[in-house]
């Protein structure tokens, strides 16, 4: 371009070059200033864990309780995965609690009342989630009714259907095969060494290796494209830190009952949705719609289709949560899953999602869910009354988001 104005900007070019050749200590300084400022929620999480570890005299992080924590709150994390995508797309879903109840109820009727095998119940529950998703997706995407209204209606509708399906009474217990989903473990598959399950440790090691391989691939890809990468030393330290946490966790699980099935389901789902939100075209389109609907439309994003699949996805994930929850509670209750939607929504917002859409990360939502989980679990261990628990959780939601907004504003002002 022969441009008489050509403001050749040597200063800017220099700045880019400088950021590329960041030294080890520059990178560390960067990590502690910029990264922590934009993700203060991680700090808050660590603080809460430490606080409750002290308050409960270490019970919080003993192996038995860590297992419980995963089992007890996995449904919130599963719901938060779907909810995050809904929220990034600029919607909300108030019906998931009712969908959890309905899918569990349908499964219970087939398995308990009609004596069908456990997998029929699972498939039926998934089918319920799919149908719910198709129904709500249709109204939101193709009729254009705000998701708040559609899912508010859905909340009543699916709760009503649950009562109808269950004839207003609880059904229990599931046969033990069904209960295994939420309370089963991979244990003693490959033997024990010193009272610890080898298989669990093996999976832990594999997870670390997988993470290292993926990080290395990402890093070499960036180098191939001449992108800036962090200093090798910092890269290794980060890997070691992740390895230490994962292995410590696996070590604890291995000395209790082994690796819960639920945790494997959860890990796979988190991986899948991490990829969907960060790498897939669908994920991009969700962010685009939430960020600027009209611009997305004019960029060729098929908005209706994307919105439709957002809700189908949410419906199916809600039924997965329904299966896990009904299996854990060994039956179906008409009031199951009450207020679950609020836990999932809270997890997303604590994790930094924006109420106006277009912003949010899987890692954030998961940490947000963990904050809620550790909080509830910690207070239960301390034997606090339900009233106090509710008050504390409400305040934490408020303060966590306030803290996040404060941090972002400060980061924005500095830029």
């Amino acid at each position: 371009m022969t441009d008489p104005f050509a403001p050749a900007a040597p200063a800017e070019a220099g700045a880019v070059a400088a950021s590329r050749s960041g030294g080890f200590f520059d990178d560390i300084a960067n990590l502690f200033t910029r990264n922590l400022r934009t993700s203060g929620i991680y700090l808050a999480f660590v603080a809460i864990v430490i606080l409750f570890t002290i308050l409960t005299g270490g019970t919080l992080i003993n192996s038995q309780n860590l297992t419980n924590l995963v089992l007890q709150f996995s449904y919130v994390l599963i719901l938060a995965l779907g909810m995050l995508i809904v929220i990034i797309g600029g919607h909300i879903d108030l019906s998931v609690g009712s969908v959890v109840a309905l899918s569990g109820a349908v499964s219970a009727v087939l398995v308990i009342r009609h004596g069908m095998p456990w997998w029929v119940g699972v498939l039926a529950a998934l089918a319920v989630g799919l149908l719910v998703g198709l129904w709500q997706g249709f109204w939101v995407a193709y009729v254009g009714i705000p998701a708040f209204i559609v899912t508010l209606a859905g909340m009543l509708l699916f709760r009503g259907l649950t009562f109808l399906v269950l004839n207003n009474i609880s059904l229990s217990p599931f046969p033990s095969a069904y209960n295994e989903i939420a309370s089963g473990f991979f244990f003693d598959l490959t033997g024990l060494v010193g009272g610890r399950d080898v298989f669990t440790l093996l999976i832990g090691v594999l997870a670390v290796l997988g993470f290292a391989w993926a990080s290395w691939r990402g890093r070499s890809g960036r180098i191939r494209y001449q992108q800036p990468v962090e200093h090798m030393g910092l890269f290794i330290i980060k890997l070691l830190a992740v390895a230490a946490v994962v292995l410590a966790f696996a070590w604890q699980l291995a000395s209790a009952r082994g690796l819960p099935y639920v945790m494997v389901i959860l890990a796979v789902l988190i991986l899948v949705y991490q990829v969907v939100t960060t790498k897939s075209v669908f994920g991009r389109h969700v962010y685009a719609i939430g960020g600027n609907l009209t611009a997305a439309q004019l960029s060729g994003v098929k908005v209706k289709k994307v919105n439709f699949w957002i809700f189908v996805n949410m419906g199916v994930l809600a039924s997965v949560a329904g299966i896990v929850f009904s299996s854990r509670s060994r039956g179906a209750q008409p009031a199951a899953g009450n207020m679950f939607e609020l836990d999932a929504i809270a997890a997303c917002f604590i994790g930094g999602a924006s109420t106006s859409g277009g912003v949010g990360r899987i890692s954030g939502a998961m940490i947000g869910g963990m904050v809620m989980a550790v909080l509830s679990n910690g207070m239960q261990l301390m034997g606090l009354e339900v009233s106090i628990q509710q008050i504390v959780r409400g305040l934490v939601l408020l303060l966590a988001v306030a803290f996040d907004i404060y941090n972002k504003r400060r980061a924005g002002a500095i830029r």
Binding site: P4, V281, F282, A295, L298
Partner: protein
């Protein structure tokens, strides 16, 4: 004209790492119209934010003297209490509220906490009369055009007993008639003793109306020009703004026009909610390597025409045919248009063009995402590489493509939008007001890019309300009036007067639009 109403002395304002204003001095005389010129990012808006208290006292260095006494504004409320009112480029009106409600918003006519509607509407009508509006005060603001909305903003300022009125780009969104009316109104206000500061990129306008012009470049005041002096010309202002002589406003180009690429025939569009025909049997065509202009006044149906062609993104009851290389094509979805090599760069980049909360690379790849992805998964590195290539080719001024688009200046945002569409490798580019609200330097760069695209053999359609711009960059110009194509002129035969004549042909029962020399082969 008595003394100085405002003196800003040695104002220095820093953002971390950047000096936005450096010892700026601004002196505004009582009862004058004072223009402030400068490229985007020169510091004009920052200066006005310092003045109006958006950046409170203490966050900047220097003094502000208002009517001779030193003032220290902590917020906009403080400056408004002194009679300093700022009207931003993006109007702060609520479309669903009535004119009267908007005028007195935050300042309601009330007694004991209850609003006196009769009094409010009565006073609103008086204020509206002062700015030349005859609508009912109960009309919802959303039903009025941009021009009238701008006037309501001024009426709102008048309701606050304004003595220093600051207007940021008041005519950027207005057509010539509305601009003319607005400028006339400002003259009237000056005669009533209200001092105005006007920020504008339209230099013709400034030469016409301003008494003094202060030019800012890179946070410095270059000079304050007495506009009644002998050499107060546009060229002098431009020279001050860009720091060098600007011999040409439009880059030179040679046209090499080929075969017809794109043709729209008999296009009709109705308003999405009202029974009103906005585009009426419009036809136009563009050839390879050609830049075709579409000239029309506000409301002529320019954007409606373009957006309805592009994936039926606007309106209802759309009919007509679109041809690409002589073959009729399906343009019913945006995706289909993009896939067939048609791009539309919208006039409103903030609302229709960009995802402001995302970074540059994500915006650039948004329309051509399949080009950087395989099996529905995005290759993040490839995406960055593409964005980096456009950053350099388009000269987007940013340290990194990871920068959030909302932080860029208007000109750079426009380059990001253009990059997004060029990345889809279009054959036909429809550019709707490609230089609205961006500075002279960036405009020149955009024109250069347009030339380059034409030189590559692409077919370019430019929609613009600035006639000199169309005359400067097009090969052929169509005129649109009341939804109908009223004429077509090769640029050699076109003048502003001739175009304006064609743009104002009213709808008559007799058909057959005036077509001047159809199919005149250019050069």
């Amino acid at each position: 004209m008595s003394g100085n109403i405002l003196e800003m002395q040695d104002i220095t304002k820093n953002f971390p790492g950047v000096k936005v204003l450096q010892e700026v001095n601004l002196t505004v005389k009582e009862g004058e119209i004072h223009a402030i010129c400068g490229e985007n990012g020169a510091g004009k808006s920052t200066l006005m934010k310092v003045l109006s208290g958006v950046y409170p006292h203490g966050t900047y260095e220097g003094n502000i003297l208002f009517r001779g006494e030193e003032v220290a504004f902590g917020s906009i409320k403080d400056s408004e209490a002194k009679g300093i009112v700022i009207i931003h480029q993006e109007l702060a009106l609520i479309p669903d509220l009535s004119v009267a409600e908007n005028i007195f918003l935050g300042n309601e006519v009330s007694r004991r906490g209850l609003i006196d509607w009769n009094q409010a509407n009565h006073r609103a009508r008086e204020l509206m009369a002062r700015v030349g509006l005859s609508e009912l005060p109960v009309t919802p603001v959303g039903q009025l055009g941009v021009g009238k909305q701008q006037l309501i903003e001024i009426a709102k300022a008048l309701s606050k007993d304004v003595s220093l009125l600051i207007l940021d780009e008041p005519t950027a969104a207005l057509n010539d008639q509305d601009s003319e009316h607005l400028l006339g109104l400002l003259r009237g206000l000056r005669d009533e003793g209200i001092t105005c500061i006007i920020i504008s990129h339209k230099l013709g306008e400034i030469v016409e109306i301003a008494d003094t012009t202060t030019v800012i470049r890179d946070g410095y005041v270059v000079e304050a020009i007495d506009m009644h002096g002998p050499d107060a010309t546009q060229d002098r202002i431009i020279r001050d703004m860009v720091g060098r002589e600007l011999d040409q406003r439009y880059p030179p180009r040679e046209s090499h026009i080929g075969e017809e690429v794109f043709r729209v025939e008999d296009w009709c569009v109705s308003h999405p909610t009202q029974p009103r025909v906005l585009v009426d049997h419009a036809s136009f065509d563009v050839r390879a390597g050609e830049v075709v202009g579409i000239a029309g006044l506000m409301g002529a149906g320019r954007t409606e025409l373009a957006m309805s062609v592009f994936g039926r993104s606007y309106g209802r009851d759309i009919s007509g045919r679109v041809y690409l290389h002589g073959r009729e094509i399906d343009t019913r979805t945006v995706k289909a248009c993009i896939d067939q090599g048609i791009s539309y760069v919208s006039e409103d980049r903030k609302h229709y063009g960009l995802n402001l909360i995302q970074d540059i690379k994500t915006n650039i790849s948004a329309a051509g995402l399949d080009k950087v992805s395989r099996h529905s998964f995005v290759n993040a590195n490839e995406e960055i590489a593409v964005a980096e290539r456009f950053r350099q080719a388009m000269n987007i001024r940013t340290p990194s493509v990871m920068q959030t688009v909302g932080n860029l200046s208007g000109g750079n945002q426009q380059k990001v939008v253009l990059s997004k569409w060029l990345h889809t490798a279009p054959e036909v580019l429809i550019l709707d007001e490609p230089t609205r609200g961006i500075d002279v330097g960036a405009k020149y760069e955009i024109y250069t890019i347009i030339n380059q695209l034409a030189a590559e053999g692409k077919a370019v359609v430019v929609i613009s309300s600035e006639l000199p711009e169309l005359l400067g960059i097009c090969d052929r110009i169509f005129t649109l009036a009341y939804g109908r194509i009223t004429g077509q002129l090769p640029v050699a035969e076109a003048t502003q007067e001739r175009l304006m004549e064609l743009m104002t042909i009213e709808k008559t029962s007799t058909d057959a639009p005036a077509v001047a020399d159809k199919e005149t082969p250019n050069d």
